[in-house]
Symmetry: C2
Subunit: 375 residues, 2 copies
């Protein structure tokens, strides 16, 4: 365990590699993960949380980290003692995703074949590959079934993939603000963000480790993505046309409006903590994800599953709008599954699933209680 | 007149310059413009068309240019003999905007002080400045009043600015798919696009003429902007998740989906015809535009105006959504003006105003007829 509470598990199956969805081999694979709460003797209280695009395993602060220096978790409002996902009751596991840059193997990791970071030699991984390595982690922890797998956005895709890949391991699933497949609009935004990274000469075909980083391109990519997480309403409320530190326009190309300053700040903050190649790999995995595809990974393979679902969308989410959650609900019901659906009124866009929301807290808490009691 | 039908008017008032809204001086100013149809003896049939962001004076083909090689106009479906804006009846004038790169003075023009292109020495101009130089053109043409001023998007902002700056010259106005002021969301997209240009090392502080051009940055900027002109629905219909020339994913960062190929094509096509600095100047002018500001340019100065308005919005336009047109209508009505408003059902997003649409044709034709007959 490192100081942040992060633990590591490395597996290297014979011959030391796993087979990825695209047929290539990868290994050894290290998984960075964190746990919260106590595992019940019968291991019946496990909740697997899937982080979204730029998240990591640090879903919340740890009980033992009560000093001021402890790093906030990305879902502190939801996960903790007596919260929506109550760590007095449940044993929470959250792992950083394959292809990411927060401890789990990804393009920044050393390629054993060369002794250098993978860069673009890292294989293009899929959401199914991400779930595949998480399965290895649960095997390592001796967990045969989870009470629930919960996550939003790209995390919600992993939730759905768990239900398809290992239905017998998933008693219930809570996909939040997510989709069965990216729309052309979502692919378009991801592609433009990737182009912004690849347009930066420092990107250098993905080979920039130890050299100047493609910071400008990554910042632009983040700004594009960040806009899609907000909403017209929330931006109007938060920024409107307010000027930054000025009573009049600059009449040059510096920051005039607060929203410009905010976006530049988001861009520059992101480049200090995230890897440009990981941005490429994770967005590609999200674009490829398709539970309506006609191959064996379709949602229609779920017709024998006992998994219970709570599907949640948010009114102002225009990245994965409610109609996409409704399509998911329809597909699940068509397969005879037990599905609850809730569209939550929220004006803060796609990010709504991450923000404090009493309704979401009680919805998830109630759903989990129902699943636990329905043993 | 050059081969495209474009004419030029250059003015240099004593002392050879005009005063811009920011207080700086600019001159001489050349205006590239085109005309269609015949000016009536009493000059009562003038329609001034305002082009949008990346348009130019070539609103339509000219009657005399019927060979196949003639360049299409950006509004051929609307402007021509027996079309919505009937050039058998009306005399149409369209000028390229100040700060643009299609013949009117802008950052690519030679700075008389240095003999080199202005680059970032070009002053930051506003929508009011654009309209100011168009007024000089109408003066030059001896036109004291126009039957109508018509335009969409940034062109619609110029339409509204005409009504505020020179109300006595405007008998009627047709602002299409536009707004009185950019929302934080619209500013955000413009800012990220500007950042993409300025992140390109070839941009070089705007000093790139005669050197390598910031093509990558400009292409990314165009892709960002282009997404905002479309809609979720139209992209789903046009591209969905269709793959480009392939039966399966590439598992690399080449083009997989048709929508990616389309965007890359739009980006690369744009850099061949547009100037990166003009992108910065025009988006800044659009961001600054604010008819609800508390200074003298407010929409509330219109209370004595006789201008008649036809305001049109489109259901799937999320860049300037219908609620913004309704705010405009409300402000105009509050000032006692004669306003018609129509929201047209269209699933193709902001670009709807440019696309063939019988309803828009007949709406504009009928409105113009009413204004002309109501002499």
């Amino acid at each position: 365990m490192d100081k942040s509470g992060r633990k590591y598990f490395t597996f290297a199956e014979p011959p030391g590699q796993i087979i990825l969805e695209n047929g290539s081999l990868l290994g050894p694979v290290t998984i960075a993960y964190e746990t919260y709460g106590q595992l019940a003797a019968d291991k019946s209280n496990v909740i697997l949380i899937e982080h979204a695009f730029s998240g990591d395993s640090h879903v919340a602060c740890h009980a033992e980290d009560e000093d001021e220096a402890s790093r906030p978790g990305w879902w502190d409002n939801m996960v903790g003692p007596e919260k929506g996902i109550d760590t007095n009751i449940y044993f929470v596991v959250c792992a950083n995703i394959l292809g990411g840059c927060m401890g789990t193997t990804g393009p920044t990791s050393l390629n054993p074949a060369t002794g250098k970071p993978y860069g673009l030699d890292f294989p293009v991984v899929t959401i199914a590959d991400m779930v595949h390595v998480q399965k290895k982690l649960l095997d390592f922890l001796g967990i045969k079934q989870v009470l629930s797998v919960i996550g939003g956005s790209v995390g919600g895709m992993q939730v759905l993939q768990w239900c398809v890949s290992y239905p017998e391991m998933v008693r219930s699933a809570v996909p939040l603000a997510t989709t069965m497949r990216h729309s052309a609009l979502a692919i378009a935004f991801n592609e433009v963000a990737r182009q912004a990274i690849m347009a930066d000469p420092h990107w250098n075909g993905g080979d920039y480790y130890g050299k100047a980083m493609p910071e400008m391109g990554l910042a632009v990519a983040r700004m594009i993505a960040h806009i899609t997480y907000l909403s017209d309403e929330s931006m109007r409320r938060k920024f409107g046309r307010n000027l930054q530190d000025k009573s009049d326009f600059s009449f040059n190309f510096d920051v005039d409006f607060q929203v410009e300053s905010y976006l530049r700040y988001q861009g520059s903050k992101f480049v200090r903590r995230f890897d440009a190649n990981s941005f490429l790999y994770i967005t590609k995995a999200a674009d490829y994800f398709d539970l309506e595809a006609s191959d064996g990974t379709s949602i229609n393979t779920l017709n024998d599953s006992q998994t219970r679902f709570l599907v949640v969308s948010f009114t102002s989410d225009w990245l994965y709008p409610t109609y996409q959650s409704k399509e998911l609900v329809k597909a699940l019901k068509k397969n005879g599954l037990d599905v609850s659906f809730c569209e939550i009124e929220a004006d803060c866009g796609h990010d709504a699933f991450l923000l404090p929301n009493c309704r979401l807290d009680s919805l998830i808490a109630g759903f989990l209680k129902g699943v636990a009691e329905n043993d």
